[in-house]
Amino acid sequence: MDMFDIYLAIPLAPLVGALIAGLLGKAIGRAGAHWVTIIGVALSTVLSFVVYNHHVLEGADAFNGNVYTWAVSDGIAFQVGFLVDQLTATMMVVVTFVSLMVHIYTIGYMHDDPGYQRFFSYISLFTFAMLMLVMANNFLQLFFGWEAVGLVSYLLIGFWYERDSAIYANMKAFLVNRAGDFGFLLGIAAVLMYFGTLDYAEVFARAPELVGTTMEVIPGAEWSLFSVICILLFIGAMGKSAQWPLHVWLPDSMEGPTPISALIHAATMVTAGIFMVSRMSPLFELSETALSFVLIIGAITAFFMGLLGLVQNDIKRVVAYSTLSQLGYMAVGLGASAYAASMFHLGTHAFFKALLFLGAGAVIIAMHHEQDMRRMGGLRKYMPITYVTSLIGSLALIGFPGFSGFFSKDGIIEAVHHSELWGADIAYLAVLSGVFITALYSFRMFFMTFHGEERMDEHTREHLHEAPWVVTVPLILLAIPSVIIGWLWAEPMLFGDYFGEAIFVAPEHDTLARLGEGYHGLVAFMLHGIMAPPFWLAALGVFTAWFLYMKRTDLPAKIVARVRPLHTILVEKYGHDRFNDWFFGGGTRGLGGLLWRVGDLALIDGLVVNGSAKVVAWFSGIFRRIQTGYLYTYAFAMIIGLLLLLQFAVGGS
């Protein structure tokens, strides 16, 4: 089989599965739906590993080719095509593997749901869309994938569409993403305007020629072209990857079923923005302004969203805020030009965060859809596999030496430390203190769920038991990479030539290279890590969590009472939602209402539409009377017509 056929089969297999499960769901039944989609995704997972082997391990050249020309307009070709290199191959493996795990897990999680086939159809469709996004070789297809994953995300957040909260959440996700996509689309339009093509390779090749070009967005202000393009593109990434201030939709997206929280809102879709920036590294490297912008936004997200995780009691929301914070880390890495470190963290995070979500999901099933951690506790003895795998996930998340998260997060923190961009100092402080916060909320959740006294009611306790194998097997399979993937990837990704030419870093920004100067093997890197502040901050966080939630359980309430205003700010999530509802929600509705009354009802409906319709109807009524039905009227009309034509044609001459 030719490599090209493999590339083509990878996105199409899940699409076929999705179509069969979606359109013929009733005919093939529940088992049929999960078999057909799992086979589709499993096929693409296996083929993705083949591609990974081909490009990353065997070091084959990047593939860049078009599959189909959709349209040609004004000499600009709109293509469907693939660009497969180390970056793409890595994303493909992560996406398909996590997707496969989630597919299997879903059999257990959605066991009793009436929308079983619909759910499988959606997640397979998502896998297709995400693969199209990462495999794109041009901006148009990127945008297609970008919108398609957004659509499926919308559908899945509102999966339980009878719930008002789910409808609110999916609408919110959709609207906030529109705000981001608006920037993204403008960025793509700017690329098209200045480069005249949407093809990645051509754009990247021509980029150096346009350095120094400026554009006047606001009259009188000359802005660097690349700053404008990159910031616009990153605004798109801010929506999709939930960066402050467009992060507000992600916590609410937890209204969707847990498997999609794991797949879409933790492991894959939300990292699309990070991937996109890495893919666009040849453009971002040309604008330090844009890099600083990315750095600052990422730092704000990483620090402040982590804080919110401290006051949440809903187990899924804690993980959601943790995801926000980790996405902030990735953005910081991008800003510091450590694209490789960000991609590394993206990969490790996909595994351990999916693991944590699926673990939380397993707990939620066992607790009969109870998500409040204040009614959990002591689950360790009932659910040993979930307990161990969650522990592994948490250790990976806080960056415990040896676990995958340690290498990737340390890579980012050290890279920022070496960055000389404007704002790098603040970002360094933010990500460093973020480590303490991460450890604190992670183990707060861990202790409140699995240790301590059992706070659930009697009925729930009697039914507590370990999840079925379709749930535990994915947990175990995700726990393995959460531990070992760091060992495999750390050296080549951070210090080696893993990504080859897929990622471009200007020499003056190359923070990872500076980091690499002091690198003497993985063990030394680990030992150094134990000496460094991040490890001690993490350890302090775990200890604090243990002290507050295991030892002195009376203390948290007292602390809250002391710092009531601060606590309120956190519970209110800094007032973003309130502000958005009031300003954007209320404002647009007010404006819409005004325009509707004045513009639509009075002017358009009253004057233009109904007015002209009335005139036409009036004429129609009048002219109709001419059609009297009498023969002589008709003949008379003809004679009059003849005379007028004669007068017109002959009389004039």
Binding site: A637, L642, A649
Partner: protein, 477 residues
């Protein structure tokens, strides 16, 4: 001998029409279907012969009486095809009303012969001959349902006004003959082009009368008055025949007279056609809104479409003529489908020609509601249906002829026109049916209407072939 070969289709049709007439006279009532099948077979073979004899070069035969060329052959083949469908649609309708007689088919075949003569005429007299043969057949067909007062009244009006129009046409012909000394279109064109005629007043005078005669046949305002009454009063089976193929013949007549014969007077007839076109689009689209009867609404819609059809001719270029020809063919197909749908829904004692009769059609038959929607959208000029391409191609030629204002006027009127088409779609899809009885039409009728609808959709998706055919046909004439 080659002269006879060139008109083989017409000769065959004439022979078969006589054969059908005689066979029908001796057939017992129970075997009436034989007449119908013979008529269909005749049309198929006539169409086949026309296609087989498609000429590479225009060929003038019988001393300038007739011409066989690309435009004529294409139109004749389509006329035979459209008539074939019209006959298919009418069978059940006539049978249910007890007028399933041989006359309909014999008259129909003679009418087709009249149209073919008009299409291949190369002399003003031949045109007149074909026109009269067609018209007389149509008068009789309208009156065929003798018990219906509406039909008789319609036939009477049609006959009287048709006679008036014929008189004017004939008067115009005599003027042209007086001015040029010939009725041969080629010779007329040569005389006009030679510049020997210093004062062309008499020619323009004759031209006005000719245009009036043509406008009457097309149904352009203000010579349209017969059209709503005839469409409404005639049995639907006859209406669908009158409303489809003869429009192509009328288009051919316009081309023969104005382009083949009097192209030298283009400046004069162009101005007249502009007036007729605008009036037709305005009156047709506006008055259609006030109609509650679907046949009457389609009649006004025809008037509006005629306005559009004229646009291509008046642009005065080869491409414009091709666009108009495309429009005429497309219009005949759509109009056939629209009336065919009325026939499909009707049954003995129920005409299904009021707007209310289409309420909730989607609940009764989603498939035919869809087909009807295709026809209506196509007539309204909504992409991707073929009606859109028809409008688009004539508008493009009008713009190319530097008459942007006229294109804007046309678009405005077609937007107004969209209203009454969409109203029917709304009735079909959003209102409750008043009558939930199932559709009882025969399988052949259902299949034919479905093919008709799918043709409108298919031609809309792939309009290139038919457009290219029209351009090629005009290039070969």
């Amino acid at each position: 001998m080659t002269d006879f070969v060139a008109i083989t289709p017409e000769l065959f049709l004439l022979t078969m029409a006589c054969v059908v007439l005689i066979v029908d006279a001796f057939l017992p009532e129970a075997y009436r279907a034989v007449t119908y099948q013979l008529a269909l077979m005749t049309l198929v073979i006539t169409g086949g012969l026309t296609v087989a004899l498609y000429p590479a070069e225009p060929q003038v035969v019988f001393h300038g009486a007739a011409v066989v060329d690309g435009m004529g052959s294409v139109l004749k083949a389509f006329i035979a095809g459209i008539a074939f469908f019209a006959f298919t649609y009418s069978k059940d309708y006539l049978r249910e009303r007890n007028v399933f007689k041989g006359e309909y088919y014999v008259l129909g075949l003679f009418a087709v012969l009249g149209m073919m003569i008009m299409v291949s005429a190369h002399s003003l007299l031949t045109i007149y001959l074909g026109l009269e043969l067609l018209s007389l057949c149509l008068y009789a067909m309208v009156a065929m349902h003798r018990d219906s007062a509406d039909a008789s009244e319609a036939a009477m009006k049609y006959f009287v006004l048709g006679a008036l129009a014929s008189g004017m046409l004939l008067y115009g012909i005599s003027m042209i003959y007086g001015g040029t000394g010939t009725v041969d279109l080629g010779e007329i064109a040569a005389v006009v082009a030679s510049g020997d005629i210093v004062d062309d007043t008499v020619l323009v005078f004759g031209l006005v009368f000719l245009v009036v005669g043509l406008a009457f046949k097309l149904g352009a305002v203000p010579f349209h008055m017969w059209l709503p009454d005839v469409y409404h009063g005639a049995p639907t089976a006859v209406t669908l025949f009158i409303g489809s193929a003869p429009k192509m013949a009328a288009f051919a007549m316009v081309m023969r007279v104005l382009v083949d014969g009097l192209e030298g007077l283009q400046a004069d007839w162009q101005a007249m056609l502009v007036i007729l076109s605008i009036l037709s689009m305005a009156v047709g689209n506006v008055i259609a809104i006030a109609q509650t009867n679907l046949k009457r609404m389609f009649a006004y819609s025809t008037i509006a479409h005629v306005g559009f059809l004229i646009l291509g001719v008046l642009s005065g270029t080869e491409a414009g003529y091709a666009a108009s020809m495309f429009y005429a063919i497309v219009y005949a197909i759509m109009s056939l489908g629209g009336f065919g749908m009325i026939v499909l829904l009707s049954r003995g004692g129920f005409e299904a020609d009021r707007l209310e009769d289409f309420k909730g059609l989607n609940e009764r038959s989603p498939w035919f509601a869809f087909i009807m929607m295709v026809f209506l959208f196509s007539m309204a000029g909504v992409p991707p249906f073929v009606g859109f391409w028809a409008k688009w191609s004539v508008l493009r030629e009008v713009v190319a002829a530097d008459m942007v204002w006229l294109a804007v006027v046309a678009v405005v009127f077609s937007i107004i026109g969209a209203f009454y088409y969409l109203r029917v779609v709304k009735l079909m899809y959003f209102d409750k049916p008043e009558d939930a009885s199932p559709i009882t039409a025969g399988g052949d009728l259902q299949a034919a209407v479905s093919i008709n609808g799918l043709a409108v959709l298919g031609l809309g998706l792939f309009p290139g072939a038919l457009l290219t055919l029209c351009v090629a046909a005009l290039a070969a004439s």
